[in-house]
């Protein structure tokens, strides 16, 4: 039996815990290290190498960015990159660009289905450059994924990923080549 003193009448709705360890962006000082990494000075502590991870990489790439130390322990979360000063923003963006590489598909030049693989020749834009790439996709059901009504992600056998930001904006030929493989 529960002890009577433990029982307390619940009168209000239970309070929801929303503390996610947001960083106080007024006190963050991200800096580039000589070795090519990013370091952080925060509230009197120095972290010589930090890494950034997006919580919502596809929908909100600039919001909720986790900052972890060199042992992958989370230091805190940046609510939005916009909360940082301009120079700080550039440092974080540059580091994020090093961690996330997902070129966007401009057009689909050819699609061939052979021996269980789908071979594609894509025109891609990534990090400011447009280039052509051939890739192979295994198990199209799993590796060509509609994210929402308009975005499509393609994963190749090596683990590279390519995004079509707006499937409706794709040219007709590319669309007709890709269409049989979209589920």
């Amino acid at each position: 039996m529960t002890h009577p003193s433990v029982l307390e009448k619940q009168t209000t709705e239970p309070e929801q815990n929303t503390d996610i360890g947001l960083l106080d962006t007024r006190e963050t000082d991200f800096y580039k290290t000589d070795g090519g990494f990013t370091g952080l000075r925060y509230k009197g502590k120095t972290f010589p190498r930090v890494s950034f991870r997006r919580a919502l990489p596809i929908g909100k790439p600039d919001s909720y960015i986790s900052v972890a130390d060199d042992e992958n322990k989370e230091i805190g979360i940046i609510r939005d990159i916009g909360d940082l000063s301009h120079t700080q923003r550039d440092v974080v963006r540059e580091d994020l660009a090093k961690r996330y590489f997902c070129p966007s598909v401009q057009s689909v030049k050819s699609v061939k289905d052979k021996m269980g693989y789908v071979y594609m020749e894509l025109i891609l834009t990534g990090a400011g450059t447009t280039y052509e790439k051939s890739c192979a996709i295994n198990d199209v059901n799993r590796n060509i994924r509609m994210i929402d009504g308009s975005r499509l992600l393609i994963f190749d056998v090596d683990g590279n990923r390519y995004i079509i930001e707006n499937i409706q904006a794709l040219d007709k030929k590319s669309m007709s080549r890709l269409e049989p493989y979209m589920f």
């Binding site: 990494f37 070129p103 192979a136 059901n141 190749d156 049989p180």
Partner: protein, 708 residues
Amino acid sequence: MDMRPASGRVRLDERGLMTVSREGETLYELNACQVKEALVLGGVGCGLVFFKMEDAGERVICRFTMSAFKQAGEFCKLVNYYRQTGHAAFPDEPEVSICPQCGRPLMEGLSICLFCYNKMTVIRRAASMLRPFRRPLITAELILVFSSLLYLLVPIFNRILIDDYLTPMQGTFSNILTLAGAMLLVRVVGEILFIFCSRMYNRAGMLYTDNLRNVAYGKMQRMSMNALAKRTPGDLIRRVMEDTATVKDFLINDGRFGVEMLLTFLVVLVILFFTDWRLTLLVFLPIPLVMMVLSRFWRLIYIRYERQWRKGSRANSILHDIIRGIRTVKSFGNEEQEIKKFARVSRELAEVSSANERMWATLFPSLTFITGIGEFLALYFGGRAILAGDMSLGVLVQFVMYIGYIYNPLRWLVSFPRRLADTLTGLVKVFEIVDEKPDIREIDHPRDVPLTGALTFENVSFGYKSYEPVLKDVSIRIEPGEMIGIVGRSGVGKSTMINLAMRLYDPGLGAIRIGDTDIRDMSLKHLHEQMGVVFQDTFLFVGTIYDNIAYAKPGADVQEVIAACKAANAHDFIMQTADGYQTMIGESGYSLSGGERQRLAIARAVIKNPSIMILDEATSSLDAETESAVQEGLMRLTKGRMTIAIAHRLSTLRRANRIIVLDKGGIAESGTHYELMRMKGIYYGLVVAQRKMFSSGSASAPDIEPAP
């Protein structure tokens, strides 16, 4: 910083000089002696190589796309190997994922490129396995050819009927009856021969597949853990069952009908040419178009129906998922949401199916029309020839009937390449298993040394993947009769150590010895016979309890089995069941509790009377009460025997003579429980954390003794 994608190269030469270049231009050089460790840092869609330098700094060397991930890992391994040994030689074969010939990615688990392999070699090899079935297959094929040729008589009978009896109105009833009888006889004899040959073909096909399946399965059993771990259970099952079945289907269907179809085609072609070569050429005029349309049509159908199949399979898996998790759905009150989710997928399936049916309904009649164009041409020009008196009606009927005989082989020919490709893929996958060279190889004359000496790890380094080292330079000596406990966080390499001790894998660097003998010089069978293992997830085979215990020692007598179960504290619960030691367990048999399973596993280890005992989280999944019952059994088993035990629950290790703590790929702490507690290091932290966890209300607090 320039972030644009570019092609670059990172190179290490024999003198330890590293060169980093971009688009052919050298960016900088570095000596490997300045590097403490080379590491790969995985990102999303890319990664980077960085060095921890001797001067404590860290330096990014290059970024790469995922296509270069393995090469980057191999490079780091090479640099680290150079740092340890001073040589740039490669310790083992690099993992290959791209065909060196065409650059295409290799299919998962395959080391042969399906585009570049020699198809004839595979066909010849598969054909050579047909040798034992040569006689029935040739007999069946001859019978089939004979029955097909019989059917070719039917149009000739028709011609005789029309030209000799009906058109001149000269035939008698007996003439017509004879012809009808002949046609009936051809059909009856043809069908009987067909049944006979199908039975012979099926039997030979089944025996051939049985042979192929057994060769593949036998080989799979002898494969090393490393080779097995590269493939999923599903992949192996598919190779042994489905790929061999594809080969069988091809043999029974295409092998059987292929010869017959080709022969029919050629014979009919000759007859047509001899009947009227000009008309034959006309009939063949649309054939290239027909072939092209058929080939396009089948490809389209294939893609469309595959899409429908995928949609169906998705609806199926969603339904399966929801039904399995119906308790969760109801407890969150999400029924409406799930109904909507399924309705959406179901609608998509309906739309795709309906589109496919529409396409089928439109395309099929059009296709039939195109394939029939030849007949129209024959009828038109043949009709004109009849009117001109150059051809008889019977000959035209015979001609048109033979045209019909040509379309079957053509249709078959159109889809033949795809089926041949599927079969060859299946064969390649099966042969790959058969040809797999074991990476755990015995030396020519392995030694059967009794495992009585100390077990020594000498500077052992190992990683399941070349770019992810798990153990780095581990050295330890375990004396006979000693019980060693291994602790550390998940993924730190505890199980890897025992996998290496059992020689399920070979270390990348260093050696493991028992006494003075390297375990690589011992026979695997002998080594495994003298080791007993109890895992966390005990696997029991479908069969009786008796069979499962005796599995470890085939031929063990009843007394030995009962004695082992008594020692393992299993006898009492076994005797509570109606069938005692003959209780069926495994799938759909008597369901055992976790504690019962573990006790059977211990009994299985006891009956072997091993020299070295390995306990891999043997009691982790049990509650405290059950654990104490199992512990008793374990205590009897490990007494006076070299024992290596891994445990999360530290209380399990209280009897260990020594505990080693693994951290970051190496031995961080080593000593008795008390020594480690006094050290106040990682082990102390683990004990304190567990004590806190159990003292906060759990009744099953383990008795971890404090340091004195």
